[in-house]
């Protein structure tokens, strides 16, 4: 019975376990597959040209060996893993790759990839790290360059009409994903944190329209399901760096807690704001991909022009959306997680903890190595945290 009622989730799990299978089928039918790293490349451009966007992930179950020739071992193990898989041929099928300036390590990954993996088309968007007016203008200019490069590669034009259509389809995916997240507001939630990662990862491995159909199917069956997560003592929010494997999430959910909300990039960060349909659609895209996506790789002070700095007001303007999440999803505690050596997320942690303390929400910081084997000590920390808040 379960197999019949959970067809959408079963398909999600299949794609989660073997991401490239579907896009390789599409490739055999003549489609071009474009890999992208992180959530900052403007996917609507790809969709408008019928290029299939395929997100590049690492593999925490594969030891990093070959990437050590290119990157120091004391940098982000996720990005090292991505490059390692590229060097080992895991992404050989890609027709193109698009990266952005996630951080300095992400930028260096692009150079190494271009030099040693040699995907036929490679483009790097030097996305700014602040949201000043000048940054936004600069970002708009960078997107014009990206558009031209894609047009010259495909020999096709990205017309405003095509782009608007693409924005609508992507916005539809964002809205559907938020609908799925709404089902986590229930107690117990209808979808687990682990399943949500699987859904997001599956969507990032499919053409967007195909993903939307799958997501509609998942939502309708999840609404009816009776085999969802059990009620637990604590409802948790997980904030942090990329979780592209369910191991950490499932380890936490095996304890007396449900993860009901996240602020991560294989999760809400990619879906929680829409692209505005502006007169020139590229303006809306430039704004969305720089300002609306809330990842610590972009610095957003409360007020750039303020002459006196108020720490708590600054925290409030940067992190109040997390208080909204906590309220709407009835969160009892927050797990801040980061891969080791991620300065981008690590530097955010002390201020985030100050903020959560100020609103009376307990939190714990877990740093992990992006390996499956090193999770046991984290279980003790997570369980200890649950015992404190329980």
């Amino acid at each position: 019975m379960v197999a019949e009622t959970n067809q959408g989730l079963t398909r999600v799990r299949e794609i989660y376990q073997d991401g490239p299978r579907r896009v390789k089928e599409l490739q055999a039918q003549g489609n071009k597959i474009f890999g992208y790293l992180c959530i900052y490349p403007v996917l609507e451009f790809l969709t408008a040209l019928d290029l299939v966007p395929y997100r590049i992930f690492g593999d925490m179950r594969e030891p990093i060996t070959r990437a050590d020739n290119f990157m120091p071992t004391v940098v982000c193990p996720f990005l090292r893993s991505c490059l390692d898989l590229g060097l080992k041929g895991r992404y050989e099928f890609l027709d193109g790759i698009v990266t952005t300036h996630i951080c300095d390590v992400g930028a260096s990954l692009h150079s190494s990839w271009d030099y040693a993996v040699r995907t036929p088309f490679a483009y790097h968007i030097d996305t700014p790290h602040t949201v000043h007016e000048t940054s936004r203008e600069h970002h708009r200019g960078l997107l014009d360059g990206f558009k031209k490069a894609l047009e010259s590669y495909t020999g096709k034009e990205i017309t405003p009409e095509r782009l608007r259509e693409a924005i609508k389809v992507h916005n539809r995916q964002r809205a559907l994903m938020r609908e799925l997240y709404d089902l986590r507001k229930l107690d117990p939630p209808l979808v687990s944190g682990g399943e949500t990662i699987q859904v997001a990862k599956a969507l990032m491995s499919l053409p967007v329209e195909e993903g939307n159909k799958l997501l509609e199917e998942v939502i309708s069956e999840v609404r009816e399901r009776e085999d969802g997560p059990q009620k637990k003592s604590a409802r948790l929010l997980v904030w942090g760096s990329i979780l592209d494997d369910t191991a950490l999430t499932e380890m936490i959910e095996d304890l007396d807690a449900n993860i009901v909300m996240d602020d991560t990039c294989v999760g809400s960060r990619a879906y929680f704001s829409d692209v505005e349909l502006t007169d020139d659609p590229i303006d809306g895209l430039a704004h969305h991909y720089l300002v609306d996506i809330k990842c610590p790789r972009t610095f957003r002070a409360g007020d750039f022009n303020a002459t006196t700095k108020d720490y708590m007001a600054d925290l409030e303007s940067r992190f109040s959306y997390l208080a909204d999440y906590a309220r709407d999803w009835k969160v009892d505690g927050v797990i801040l997680e980061s891969v080791r050596y991620c300065d981008t997320h690590g530097y955010e942690v002390p201020q985030l903890r100050d903020y959560f303390n100020s609103i009376g929400l307990p939190s714990i910081y877990l740093e992990h190595d992006y390996t499956e084997g090193a999770l046991a000590p984290l279980r003790t920390r997570a369980q200890g945290f649950l015992e404190i808040i329980g």
């Binding site: 000590p377 003790t380 920390r381 369980q383 015992e387 404190i388």
Partner: protein, 280 residues
């Protein structure tokens, strides 16, 4: 009613059985070993024998420690963080900071009114743990249990600059070849482990009472070095290895009495006194 706590540490397995009056009826300390984890039942049987009780007489049994998931007969698993805090508070009700240095990790526990409120842990490497001393006592050709007394004879402690076990071993070998007296090297090692743990627990704010538990608390040299580093007196329980198991037994009593008072059933496990298998 009787309550049992079993603490499967990475190095030592401890079992304590207490009565309703919180008096200890049995306490056992054994090496965990490679296969011992699968034989928690044997240690439990030994404790039951010592107490003269069948397992059915135990009202509640809590497993704690790294191996807590490998105790099929436990009613509940609770982390060693919570259990240590509870156990330490039973010996020293005024405890504010508990430091536990075990075989493979070091923990700092912030305790208020007998309850755990925050913690820090180091378990990534052997630095600042009992394993550090185990490895280096072998290098020095000394027995682990003699290190404390030997270090007290030191007049000119050497500085061990690395807390990494591998690099510290190289330093020790260098000092030995330079003819440095053993007691000065041992005192240097104690100082290295104490300064590493002290800097970790300072994140929790050091206020009296500070209590030190775990196997390493049996080493008087580390105790002195820790006091010197933290600048305050450090209290040691009579048997520093048992605080986790005692805490687990006490928590079992609390949970049982709470359930009885609220008229709720006591959630017991399956109570099969058998070894844990890795295949469910």
């Amino acid at each position: 009613m009787y309550f049992a706590g079993i603490d499967l540490g990475s190095t030592m397995t401890k079992v304590v059985i207490i009565g309703e009056d919180e008096q200890v009826c049995a306490s056992i300390i054994r090496h965990t070993g490679a296969e011992h984890r699968r034989l928690a039942n044997k240690v439990m049987e030994e404790a039951l024998e010592q107490a003269g009780l069948p397992i059915d007489e135990i009202s509640y049994l809590i497993a704690t420690g790294y191996g807590r998931i490998n105790v099929p007969f436990a009613d509940r698993q609770v982390t060693e963080l919570t259990c240590h805090a509870r156990g330490v508070a039973s010996f020293f009700p005024g405890v504010s900071l508990a430091i536990d240095i075990g075989g493979q990790d070091a923990k700092g526990l912030k305790v208020r009114d007998g309850k755990l409120i925050d913690f820090v842990m180091s378990d990534k490497c052997a630095a600042g743990t009992g394993r550090f001393l185990e490895v280096l006592s072998a290098t020095l050709g000394l027995r682990l249990e003699d290190l404390g007394d030997i270090s007290l004879k030191s007049r000119n402690r050497v500085s061990i600059s690395s807390t990494c076990t591998i690099f510290a071993r190289q330093e020790v070998v260098n000092h030995l070849s330079d003819g440095v007296p053993l007691e000065d090297i041992v005192a240097g090692l104690h100082s290295a482990i104490a300064s590493r743990v002290a800097s970790m627990v300072r994140r929790l704010k050091v206020e009296p009472d500070v209590v030190f538990t775990g196997g390493v608390a049996k080493n008087i040299g580390v105790v002195k070095a820790l006091e010197e580093n933290l600048g305050c007196q450090v209290l040691i329980p009579e048997e520093p290895l048992l605080s986790g198991a005692i805490g687990a037994a006490l928590l079992g009593k609390e949970l049982t009495l709470k359930a009885l008072a609220e008229g709720e059933p006591i959630q017991r496990g399956k109570r099969r006194l058998e070894e844990a298998t890795f295949f469910k």
